[in-house]
């Protein structure tokens, strides 16, 4: 009786919170990169993670996706602790990491195939999905080129494809729109919106407040390794724009004296 109750609770939790971050902390030498951050990303949400440069976004996402061992805390991916049951947790998780290389001596097609086969998928399924992904990423014509010869935006897109091939329940994307052209960015947004509409969960980190405000249902603001706010976009921003609210929360806006000598008319 007790066991079935527990199982029920467990299943319900799995359904509601796609990524449950509990007190994650990381310190590099004297510098505290992430300070005891807890965050709940509801299933089916499009979650934006915003913060200034060096706020600890990448460090936190690395700890939540199994790339960086935390000093303290837990990260539960669809109810599974990524540090206790890494393989099970990672099978439902797709990650676009920021600042890592790809196996760039492979062609785009080979790289996506590799990502599928590494996860133990069937070959037929891998082949079919690879072609689909290349098509929606607008890379069909470049599938035979080596990734090392791709532009920054194309590399971003092929990396996104490697993160999606196993149809994960949760996508964690660190700076997915950086260096991506507007048309591709719009296409990627459509794919992600579709994915969320059918029950998937997306977390994106970004600098572009406007984008986050339009695209995301939820948002968390992180600065100096500390969580400043979290909730639905409307809750967080109140009656301001997200950008104003962000500057408000993070602070550090300079006074407006600026550089008088930069005014060309003064010459």
């Amino acid at each position: 009786m007790m066991l079935t109750d527990l199982g029920y609770c467990y299943a319900e939790e799995m359904n509601q919170i796609a990524l449950d971050i509990r007190g994650l902390a990381k310190q590099f030498g004297p510098k505290v990169a992430v300070d005891n951050v807890s965050l709940e990303v509801p299933t089916g949400s499009f979650y934006g993670l915003v913060g200034p440069n060096g706020a600890g976004k990448t460090t936190m996402l690395s700890m939540a996706t199994g790339l960086l061992r935390p000093d303290a805390g837990q990260a539960l991916v669809n109810g599974l602790d990524i540090w206790a049951q890494p393989q099970a947790a990672k099978s439902t998780l797709g990650v676009l990491a920021d600042g890592v290389r790809q196996f760039d001596r492979l062609t785009g097609r080979q790289l996506v195939t590799y990502s599928g086969l590494l996860r133990g998928m069937e070959r037929a399924e891998v082949t079919e999905r690879t072609e689909d992904l290349l098509r929606v990423m607008d890379l069909s014509n470049d599938g035979d080129k080596l990734v090392v010869d791709y532009s920054a935006g194309m590399t971003k897109k092929i990396s996104l494809a490697t993160a999606m091939i196993h149809s994960p329940k949760l996508l964690v994307l660190d700076e997915p729109f950086e260096a991506v052209d507007p048309v591709s960015a719009a296409n990627i947004r459509d794919i992600l919106n579709d994915y969320v509409a059918y029950g998937g969960t997306v977390i994106v980190s970004s600098h572009v407040m406007d984008l986050v405000q339009r695209m995301c249902t939820h948002v968390a603001v992180i600065a100096g390794g500390v969580l400043k706010a979290q909730g639905s976009v409307d809750e967080v921003r109140g009656d301001m724009s997200l950008e104003d609210r962000f500057v408000d929360l993070v602070g550090g806006r300079g006074n407006n004296e600026g550089l008088s000598w930069l005014r060309t008319s003064s010459n």
Partner: protein
């Protein structure tokens, strides 16, 4: 302005030492070594002054070697300190008249340049008994040093455009590496053929004295022999060469500051390549990826190049001594070298390794895939290297033993490497970098790791080595077969053990490995 740029270069030189103590220690050790060489050279010059008939020739050859070395090694192999590359000044509107001399002068502010000047000056002591030639020699040393630095700068600027093309870069490294390795045997054969040193010293230095390499260095000799016609010609040539080279460098600098970096054509490969032929499992995928890298990544190509080069060197050596016993060592040596080459596999992946961590691929699959790829590539060369020497020598009784020791060497090396690379990361050239470049931070730890890895391979090879050597001495095929049986059983056993244990270590430490490759240390 010139002073500003020179100061910048000095500051860069100083800051370079501050980066890490390990690097500083490396620089000091290297510097002491170089200084030792210079002191030896200077002493040799000091004491052979007035003793040797070949002072003139030796000066010319020495200077030529220095200039040639500067022309080849930095631009093509080690890469030059490009912090003051002309194209970096594109965004500053600095006049060419200032920038060119500043950059040329800044080329002299580097440890190798300073050491070169000191070394060349030390060499001038060869003329210390004759006042006139001594003055000429000091002058010649300075001109030679200037020539060396200018040649290096010119070739660097010219080759930058070419070096930007990936294919070119990879091809030259491979070719140069091959030439460099074969150089020793070739030179020693040629030199051995010549009757005595003077046979080639005299005509060689005569020719060199009219080239940019030795024109300046020919001056003291000509003066000493009172050969004023030659002195005048060489002086004129030296001035023309130096002036011409300066003009070329200045022009190339000017061009480089207004030329955008070149575009390159993308390489293509249709289809899935090796991915088509491997089983659709994680192990198969890793095998296919590793195989692709063995062919596409020049850092691996260097390891593969050893395979044809090693027999070549041993054959040359055997050719000279008349004793070809060394040829029987090729099999086990190739086995160990190729097997050892995967011990840096994760280091070579660099942060691309993130894909393995993120997909949560089983440690066993990662280890096995890499080992299988290396095995698939190595097995045929190792078999050939084991069978051919015995077969060619007509000593068929020894083939079984040779096979045993060679296969055991390959399998054991693969097993040990599978274990070691799951634990130790070391600094390697980054993907796409010059594969010959040794990155900073390569200190004692790396040397110890490699020593430990190779040492444990050697110890593990003992059970095979004993019957093998006994078979060799007794010319016994039966003992050779024992070596083959022991080698196969032990080799396969250790490979499996290495994969399983390495896989466990890998799974426990994957995030730590990831952090280690991020700093590439």
């Amino acid at each position: 302005m010139v002073a500003h740029i020179l100061k910048l270069k000095l500051r860069l030189l100083g800051n370079g030492f501050k980066r890490s103590t390990g690097q500083l220690i490396g620089v000091i050790i290297g510097g002491v070594y170089a200084l030792g060489m210079i002191v030896m050279l200077t002493l040799a010059a000091f004491y052979s002054a007035g003793q040797t008939q070949n002072a003139a020739e030796l000066s010319i050859v020495l200077a030529s070697v220095v200039v040639l070395g500067w022309a080849i090694v930095p631009p093509l192999l080690t890469g030059v300190d490009l912090t003051l590359e002309p194209s970096r000044f594109v965004h500053f509107g600095i006049s060419q008249k200032i920038l060119a001399p500043a950059l040329v002068l800044s080329g002299f502010i580097s440890l190798p340049a300073i050491l070169t000047i000191i070394g060349l000056l030390g060499g001038t002591l060869l003329w210390r008994f004759e006042a006139g030639p001594m003055v000429a020699a000091v002058l010649a040393a300075l001109v030679t040093a200037a020539m060396a630095v200018l040649v290096c700068q010119y070739l660097t600027i010219v080759s930058t455009a070419l070096r930007a093309k990936r294919r070119f870069r990879e091809l030259t490294f491979a070719l140069l590496f091959l030439v460099l390795i074969c150089l020793g045997p070739i030179i020693s054969s040629v030199a051995g053929a010549a009757q005595s040193m003077t046979d080639w010293l005299s005509p060689l230095s005569n020719v060199l004295s009219y080239t940019p390499f030795g024109a300046a260095a020919a001056l003291p000799g000509a003066l000493s022999e009172s050969n004023f016609a030659k002195f005048a010609i060489c002086l004129l040539l030296a001035v023309i060469y130096l002036g011409g080279l300066y003009f070329l460098v200045a022009r190339a600098t000017a061009e480089a500051t207004v030329t955008p970096p070149p575009e390159q054509r993308a390489a293509k490969q249709s289809g899935l390549g090796f991915f088509k032929f491997v089983p659709a499992t994680p192990t198969g995928a890793v095998t296919a990826r590793a195989l692709t890298y063995w062919f596409k990544d020049p850092r691996y190509a260097i390891g593969v190049l050893m395979v044809p080069v090693l027999p070549l060197i041993f054959w040359f050596t055997g050719n000279q001594s008349g004793d070809y016993t060394m040829m029987y060592l090729i099999g086990p040596l190739i086995g160990i070298l190729l097997g050892f080459s995967i011990s840096a596999d994760i280091s070579y992946d660099n942060t691309a390794f993130a894909l393995h961590v993120l997909t949560g691929v089983q440690g066993r699959a990662d280890r096995a895939g890499r080992a299988f790829a290396c095995f698939a590539l190595s097995i045929i060369p190792v078999l050939l290297a084991a069978i051919l020497p015995g077969a060619i020598a007509g000593e068929t009784w020894r083939i079984a033993g040779d096979l045993g020791i060679s296969l055991a060497a390959l399998l054991i090396a693969l097993g040990v490497s599978s274990l070691a690379s799951a634990r130790y990361i070391y600094a390697v050239p980054l993907p796409g970098d010059n594969p010959m470049k040794t990155p900073p931070g390569n200190g004692m730890r790396v040397a110890l790791t490699q020593l430990g890895t190779i040492g444990s391979m050697a110890i593990l090879l003992l059970p095979v080595l004993i019957p093998y050597l006994m078979g060799w001495f007794q010319k016994s095929q039966a003992l050779g077969l024992v070596a083959l049986a022991v080698g196969l059983v032990e080799g396969i056993g250790l490979l499996i053990l290495g994969i399983i244990l390495g896989g466990k270590w890998y799974e426990k430490r994957a995030p730590e490995l990831m952090q280690a490759v991020m700093v590439n240390k």
